[in-house]
């Protein structure tokens, strides 16, 4: 019987037959038998409450470690994570394991930046849940550390490269083709609303008067809070409710914003920049609990706009519109003979759409720390504008606000010791 190659040997061999060209997306290649050796990669999952459990089957990689600060979560997940998986309460012990290739970060967002930075230093590649980081400052640091240590990073949203896109009835590719070939003209306005097929999930609004309550035995609440400011425990703050509080996330915008906005950023060719202005129309927000809002409007330097219509007010809204044409929900359009036109247009530049390809070839994943940071910045700009209740002016190069000290103070939000972003 032939001996199965061990994992490291396999990775090396796989690398030898696959120099640069894997970027050609496999859906255009077609054919069978073209399968990544991803089943040879190993992973650890940190945070296995809600999202983290979904990471177990991703890419068929082998789970070696699962980590959670809630003993009940850990017990549930160990039962289904496979025989190789060991349970941890402290993610730092997971990072010390030398046999883990990829670290999946599926904790609440206030942990994402710190864990990603530490995973990079530990030489791990990173698969991080959205929103990427809870502050703009943490995103800047993640980029720096991931690049410095030569790590591969993928953000866990995917609509810029696959799957039907909410109400659009298509994936993002045909939209990208139309836009990059300037069929709609320029600048563009993108409206994201119930009318165009989206849902703001305002049920992630927090409650404004939480009484302290006793911490359940299974939960290490101090570790759950980690770098977030200390606030007395209340079950509303943690599992499946945390999105309603600014300390950990940003309500429905935090939950869904990057899903919806990352493809928009890609379509508008804004992967390396940010808006110069954010306008907000919302009821006053609570200092601790996120609430609903009516409208957020982002404006880029070239006049492109993104409207987040929280009231679904414009029932005639196109998803994307330019001076020369509009695309509505269901990929309906005012442009005649659109399918025919699409066939004649050049394709968007290929991207790496399978993370194990990125790990193998060491080329950036389609949605990585850099463009992910910029789309997460859209979310965080919105959050800051909501919290301060005013229009913000932003310098996309310096990544600072103009003439707004309080807004700049929200770019970096201090971590609670002993947690250090440095």
């Amino acid at each position: 019987m032939r001996k199965k190659p061990n994992r490291r040997q396999f990775l090396k061999r796989a690398a030898a037959v696959s120099a640069g060209f894997v970027i050609v997306p496999r859906h255009v290649l077609g054919g069978a038998g073209y399968r990544a050796p991803s089943d040879q990669l190993t992973k650890a999952i940190i945070g296995v409450g809600g999202m983290g459990r979904g990471h177990i089957p991703y890419e068929g990689t082998r789970v070696l470690a699962v980590c959670d600060v809630d003993a009940d979560h850990l017990k549930d997940v160990l039962a289904r994570a496979g025989k190789d998986a060991k349970g941890y309460r402290d993610y730092r012990e997971v990072l010390e394991r030398k046999d883990v290739d990829v670290v999946h970060i599926a904790t609440p967002p206030h942990w994402h930046g710190l864990m990603a930075m530490e995973a990079a230093r530990a030489g791990k590649d990173i698969w991080c849940e959205k929103p990427m980081t809870r502050t703009i400052g943490e995103g800047i640091r993640v980029i720096e550390e991931v690049n410095k240590y030569g790590r591969m990073f993928r953000l866990n949203t995917w609509f810029r490269f696959k799957d039907t896109f909410y109400g659009l009835g298509t994936d993002v590719r045909p939209l990208k083709k139309l836009i990059q070939n300037r069929v709609l003209g320029w600048p563009l306005k993108v409206t994201v609303s119930g009318t165009t097929g989206y849902d703001w999930k305002f049920y992630w609004s927090g409650r404004t008067d939480l009484a302290p309550s006793s911490v359940p035995a299974e939960l290490d609440y101090d570790m759950w809070l980690g770098p977030a400011p200390y606030k007395p425990y209340n079950p509303e703050r943690v599992h499946s409710k945390f999105r309603g509080y600014w300390d950990y996330d940003g309500g429905g915008l935090g939950d869904m914003g990057q899903h919806y906005l990352d493809p928009v950023q890609y379509l508008l060719e804004k992967d390396d920049t940010s808006p110069i202005r954010v306008n907000v129309d919302a009821p006053q927000q609570h200092y601790d609990a996120a609430g609903s809002w009516r409208r957020l409007e982002y404006t880029y330097a070239d006049g492109c706009k993104i409207i987040l219509d929280g009231e679904n007010r414009d029932t005639e809204a196109a998803y994307v519109e330019g001076p020369d044409g509009k695309i509505f929900r269901g990929f309906k359009s005012d442009i005649p003979d659109l399918p025919r036109l699409l066939a004649t247009l050049p394709e968007p530049e290929p991207q790496i759409e399978v993370f194990s390809d990125s790990i193998r070839t060491r080329q950036k994943f389609a949605l990585n720390e850099k463009n992910g940071h910029r789309s997460c910045t859209l979310v965080n700009l919105g959050v800051i504008a909501l919290r301060l209740g005013r229009t913000l002016h932003y310098d996309p190069a310096a990544q600072r606000f103009h003439d707004d000290e309080a807004a700049n103070r929200l770019i970096h939000q201090p971590m609670r010791a002993p947690w250090i972003m440095g």
């Binding site: 050609v24 230093r121 240590y149 703001w200 400011p229 201090p414 250090i420």
Partner: protein, 1145 residues
């Protein structure tokens, strides 16, 4: 009424210059916006007034309130902060909203004095507070406005175990010298957790003055402190820290460790570079590169390379060139990714040289990097690499050329395609698909014939992907190629190439293709071709023709759902009737997959038939198709109710409940609520009931209300199960508490008997003439007859075809009603409103009587429309839903969710000379055939609620104008007329005087809409007596087209909205003449606010404004009145009013 506008203008023209008027205007406006300067309310009252308005619904309002808070000064802000209690211990939410509003507002650029006041007041509050949670909150708000004062106030807490963290966070927000000093002082006194916090913060502030103290902690025994110290030293980046940081990293063997010693050394090196200490930066990086050899140390080496590249640019090249000799691929890649950023021809040359000497794998990696780097001077090398012996080098070169040259790389790549084998051919095809478009296909097509199978398959896939329709014939021909690879590619390409004209050829190919996988490709091409044919309704015809003679008709049956159309559906239904099981199955699958809801009724028939094999799929298919259809909610609900009896399992009933839940209507709520009694489904129904009834989002106004909703929600709360149920129950309780307490829709038929109904006695006019005794006798007779003609069966009222109408015992005025009805063949009925015929119901097949127009029209109208706007009846024997609204004389009808009567006046059939009766019974018409009615609900619309939003009703507003007549008003009922629901002042009609409310009002919120005509002048009197000039005897809020040329020289206190002669209004918020404006007048004591179209135009205090005499120098005794009538003060121009409502305060 005239209070001297004309006289004033003349006087002003005589005595004042425009410039002076402008200055005066500016002064007055500034005064008006600044608010009451010496408001005499007690501070506690002012605070309570302000807090009551939180949270603000918008930023504008929040900022206004913030200005009011700041206007209270330090003492007032302290008064607010004193009301803080620990979170969760009481309802202090509005206090926190208020302080946050103030801090956020004061943190705005340019508001320096406000910021300083907020900082000072919050700092004072911090000192005065005792609870640590409250102090934490105050520290968090101070962070928005913190400078030195806040730092001084927070410094004492740096050593407090509980507060050191929030106090430190304030220091980090302030980031000033005072913060650094405070932390440095605290460091010397701190221990335990606060010490870690402080060390960390000093690092983040790069406090060099603390460096040596921190250096002493670099070997601290406790891990958190050691880690914080190393990080702080790295941040401060003093050259003195080099030995300590280097030795710590060495001790960690340059690997990952809990104290992050390696990371700290690298951060240190980076900061040295940023500070310009390049020598030390370079020395550290080089020593890391020298010392790190093991796999676990390569991340540190990568980082050292990155720092060198950042600081030394081109000079790092030797390190990078050496790095690509490493056998670790990730490390090589990190070096090559850095190389991408180092530009210049010299670097290009060096990399080309390196590539030429390197192993094939590394050469391929460098080649790929050169493509990403994008230097055109590498092109000759890349082009020559296309001929390299190693396939991975050739492929990397191909990709790089594509990156740099885009479509111009095609001539380079086509020869490569020609010679490629296997996977490589596919990959080159992939690159071509990326860079080319349809215009570039000719060279590929012309070389196709000479290609070997693999490249040829690749070429075919390129033509297919780029939609080269011109090449359909050529590719179509290749579907017969003997080589399987070519054949497969050709089949796969067809779907993008097929046009309508190609359909016959594709159908022939489909017939000839036995292989199921290839057959699927042809089927998709057939669909695409057919769907391009015109006219749309004939698209399926060629397919149906082909199916007749086909040996494999199932293949065609399978595509019909994607083509659709009536003919195709008929054919599929016919096939479903066949005995051949394969065909029958395929036809059934087609019905289930039909692209629109046209096949749903067929699936329903399958469910009814109970066919064991198909029933379950038909059931779920029906639900899916109805759910996905664009039908209105009422119609969907009828369909769901129709299928419901055929649900065979609890799971299917659950699916129907879920589908109904999506509709979120009152009627679906009722149907779902019935399942609260079903033990198997109760908890699902409870959850659905909750989701239907509660608002879709916090603050949304789409929740359901009324007595049945209240009852069902109360029951549902007890039945909810699962981990979230406590939370859900609390949401329900919260909603029930806030729900308007009106009856809402109530059932007028109990589903069991005819309680509440009676027989018909003649007509309303005849009845009105009868004596009570006569009427009672006739009524008794009618009731006896009624009981033999009308009865209740299966929850519905049924009629046996003989006798008279069924009438409600109760009379109704304005109302909204819901009723389901069903008729049999030739059926003819209707719903009488206020005892008068009728909203028509009839069998649309009866063209002899004109029934083809459909049901729902106001049949007996002669002057006003009598026909429905659309025919939307369901087939005879099926249920229909009517939703009828009647307000005043106007009727609106929805039939099955479609509006068929749009606000039409209903005429009085019994006496056409008079309008419809104001009240009367609802009647179900008897007309000689079988009829049934079910689920009859009525919501009475009280005059007090006309046009009010649910929120206003909940808030306590009542309507002052019923839209029909002047009930509730006194005074000039001649010039003020009611027309189409609008109150119009007509000066030429001969009346005189004002129109006042009957009631008096003291403090109130009064909302109304008005429409001006050019130059219009009216006024709103408040706290006015019924006699005298309301502008002086009460107060007048001016209503005026102040844009009119005749008013060009108005005094500011005459502008629209002004408290006439007392407080001037801001101009500019009126809509253009002819448009409707909405205005709110709020009177609270001496405080008067006027909000026009959302803009506050008056916000002032009449006592204050008149204490030194009024601006118009007239006496205004009315200012002293605390209560009075509200009235419209007439001048001589037409003005219209509507939606007049008030809330007493």
């Amino acid at each position: 009424m005239d209070h001297g506008i004309g006289g004033d203008i003349t006087a002003m023209r005589r005595t004042r210059t425009h410039a002076f008027a402008a200055v005066l205007l500016a002064l007055l406006l500034a005064d008006a916006t600044a608010g009451p300067a010496q408001d005499r309310r007690l501070l506690s009252t002012k605070v309570a007034d302000i807090l009551a308005r939180f949270p603000a619904d918008s930023s504008i309002l929040r900022d206004r309130l913030a200005r009011e808070i700041l206007g209270l000064g330090e003492e007032g802000i302290g008064e607010i902060a004193r009301q803080l209690v620990p979170a969760g211990s009481g309802n202090e939410t509005s206090v926190r909203f208020a302080l946050n509003a103030m801090a956020a507002y004061a943190s705005r650029f340019g508001l320096e004095s406000e910021r300083a006041l907020a900082e000072k007041a919050l700092a004072g509050a911090l000192g005065a507070a005792s609870d640590p949670e409250v102090k934490t909150f105050l520290l968090s708000q101070l962070r928005l406005v913190a400078r030195e004062a806040a730092v001084r106030a927070a410094a004492p807490y740096l050593l407090d175990a509980t507060l050191s963290e929030p106090a430190t966070q304030l220091m980090l927000s302030a980031r000033n010298m005072a913060a650094r000093q405070a932390l440095a002082v605290a460091l010397g006194l701190s221990k335990d957790a606060p010490q870690v916090t402080i060390v960390k913060a000093l690092g983040e502030l790069r406090a060099a003055e603390a460096n040596d103290a921190i250096l002493r902690l670099a070997n601290a025994p406790g891990l958190p402190l050691r880690k914080a110290a190393l990080a702080a030293l790295a941040d401060i980046a003093s050259p003195r820290s080099s030995p300590a940081l280097t030795s710590a990293a060495k001790k960690a063997r340059y690997g990952y460790d809990a104290a992050n010693a390696t990371g700290a050394l690298l951060t240190y090196a980076r900061n040295l570079g940023l500070d310009g200490n390049l020598d030390l930066c370079e020395k550290i990086c080089k020593s890391i590169l020298k010392d790190c050899k093991d796999a676990e140390q390569l991340p540190a080496s990568s980082a050292a390379l990155a720092i060198l590249a950042d600081n030394f640019g081109y000079e790092v090249l030797p390190h990078l060139l050496r790095a690509v000799d490493n056998r670790d691929r990730a490390y090589r890649a990190a070096a090559l990714n850095l190389a991408e950023g180092i530009a210049g021809v010299a670097a290009t040359r060096q990399w080309i040289g390196k590539a030429q000497r390197a192993e094939p794998e590394v050469r391929a990696e460098i080649t790929a990097m050169l493509g990403r780097r994008g230097d055109a001077r590498a092109l000759p090398f890349l082009e020559s690499s296309l001929r390299a012996a190693q396939p991975e080098v050739r492929m990397a070169a191909a990709e790089s050329l594509a990156r740099i040259k885009k479509a111009d790389a095609a001539p380079d790549l086509l020869p490569l395609l020609q010679s490629a084998e296997g996977d490589q051919a596919r990959q080159i095809a992939g690159i071509l698909i990326w860079i080319l478009d349809e215009r570039h296909l000719d060279p590929i097509v012309s070389m196709m014939d000479s290609l070997a199978p693999a490249p040829k398959a690749g070429a075919i896939s390129v033509v297919g992907a780029k939609g080269g329709k011109r090449n359909f014939e050529k590719i179509f021909g290749l579907t017969g190629d003997p080589n399987p690879e070519i054949r497969l590619a050709a089949f796969a390409a067809l779907k993008n190439l097929a046009g309508a004209k190609d359909l016959p050829a594709l159908l022939r190919l489909l017939e000839a293709t036995g292989d199921p996988a290839l057959g699927k490709e042809v089927q998709q091409a057939v669909v695409n071709a057919a769907n391009q044919a015109e006219p749309a309704q004939a698209r399926a015809r060629p397919l149906l023709e082909a199916m007749k003679s086909s040996a494999r008709p199932v293949q065609i049956l399978e595509v019909l759902p994607q083509v659709g159309g009536d003919e195709a559906l008929r054919a599929v239904i016919e096939q479903f009737g066949q005995s051949d099981p394969a065909r029958k199955d395929a036809a059934f699958r087609a019905l289930v997959q039909w692209k629109d809801p046209a096949a749903a009724q067929q699936l329903y028939a399958v469910c009814v038939s109970g066919d064991a094999k198909y029933r379950a799929d038909a059931f779920s298919g029906f639900l899916r198709q109805i759910g996905a259809s664009g039908q209105p909610a009422d119609q969907k609900l009828l369909q769901y109710r129709k299928i419901l009896p055929y649900a065979a399992r609890a799971g299917e009933r659950r699916a129907v409940i879920r589908a109904m839940e999506q509709l979120k209507t009152f009627q679906c709520f009722l149907v779902v609520a019935r399942y609260l009694d079903d033990p198997e489904l109760a908890s699902d129904a409870a959850a659905s009931v909750m989701r239907i009834a509660l608002p879709s989002a916090a603050g949304s106004r789409d929740g359901l209300s009324g007595a049945p909703v209240r009852d069902a929600l109360t029951r549902a709360a007890q039945l909810l199960k699962g981990p979230e149920s406590e939370y859900d129950r609390e949401n329900i309780r919260g909603y029930l508490a806030s729900m308007p307490n009106d009856a809402g829709f109530v059932p007028i038929f109990n589903g069991i008997d005819l309680t509440g109904w009676q027989g018909l006695v003649e007509n309303p006019i005849a009845r009105a003439k009868m004596s009570p005794a006569e009427l009672a006798a006739k009524q008794a007779d009618a009731d006896t007859r009624m009981r033999s003609n009308w009865s209740v069966r299966d929850g519905a009222i049924v009629f046996n075809g003989k006798g008279d109408n069924l009438c409600t015992v109760k009379d109704y005025g304005d109302f909204e009603m819901l009723v389901d009805w069903r008729i049999t063949k030739d059926g003819d009925s209707g719903v009488y409103l206020r005892g008068t015929p009728q909203v028509q119901i009839w069998d649309n097949a009866r063209t002899d009587v004109g029934a083809q127009v459909g049901s729902g029209g106001l049949y007996n109208n002669q002057k006003n429309p009598s026909r429905p706007l659309a025919r939307v009846d369901n087939p005879i024997g099926e249920w229909n839903t009517l939703r009828i609204t009647m307000i005043g004389e106007k009727v609106t009808v929805f039939l099955n969710g479609v509006k068929v009567v749009d606000d039409v006046t209903m005429e009085n059939y019994w006496d056409r000379s008079q309008p419809i009766f104001p009240r009367g019974p609802i009647e179900l018409q008897a007309h000689g055939t079988d009829l049934a009615f079910r689920d009859i609900y009525v919501r009475e619309i009280s005059d007090r609620e006309i046009h009010l939003t649910a929120a206003e009703i909940a808030d306590g507003f009542v309507a002052l104008f019923n839209g029909r007549d002047l009930s509730g008003w006194v005074g000039n009922n001649v010039s003020y007329k009611v027309s189409d629901g609008i109150l119009v002042f007509q000066p030429a009609s001969g009346g005189s005087g004002n129109l006042y409310t009957e009631q008096e009002y003291a403090d109130f919120q009064f909302r109304f809409e008005f429409q001006l005509t050019p130059g219009a002048n009216n006024g709103l009197g408040i706290r006015a007596p019924l006699e005298g000039d309301a502008a002086y005897a009460g107060m007048e809020i001016q209503i005026l087209d102040d844009s009119a040329p005749i008013y060009a020289s108005l005094q500011p206190y005459q502008y629209h909205g002004s408290v006439y002669g007392v407080i001037p209004a801001r101009r500019g918020a009126l809509k253009p003449v002819g448009e409707w404006n909405s205005e709110e007048v709020i009177a609270r004591g001496s405080h008067i606010q006027v909000i026009l179209n959302g803009t506050v135009i008056v916000d002032g205090d009449i006592t204050e404004a008149s204490k030194d005499g009024t601006i118009d120098h007239n006496k205004h005794p009315g200012l002293e009145r605390s209560s009075g009538h509200i009235g419209f003060l007439s001048h001589d121009t037409v003005v219209r009013f509507r939606n007049i409502r008030i809330k007493k305060r």
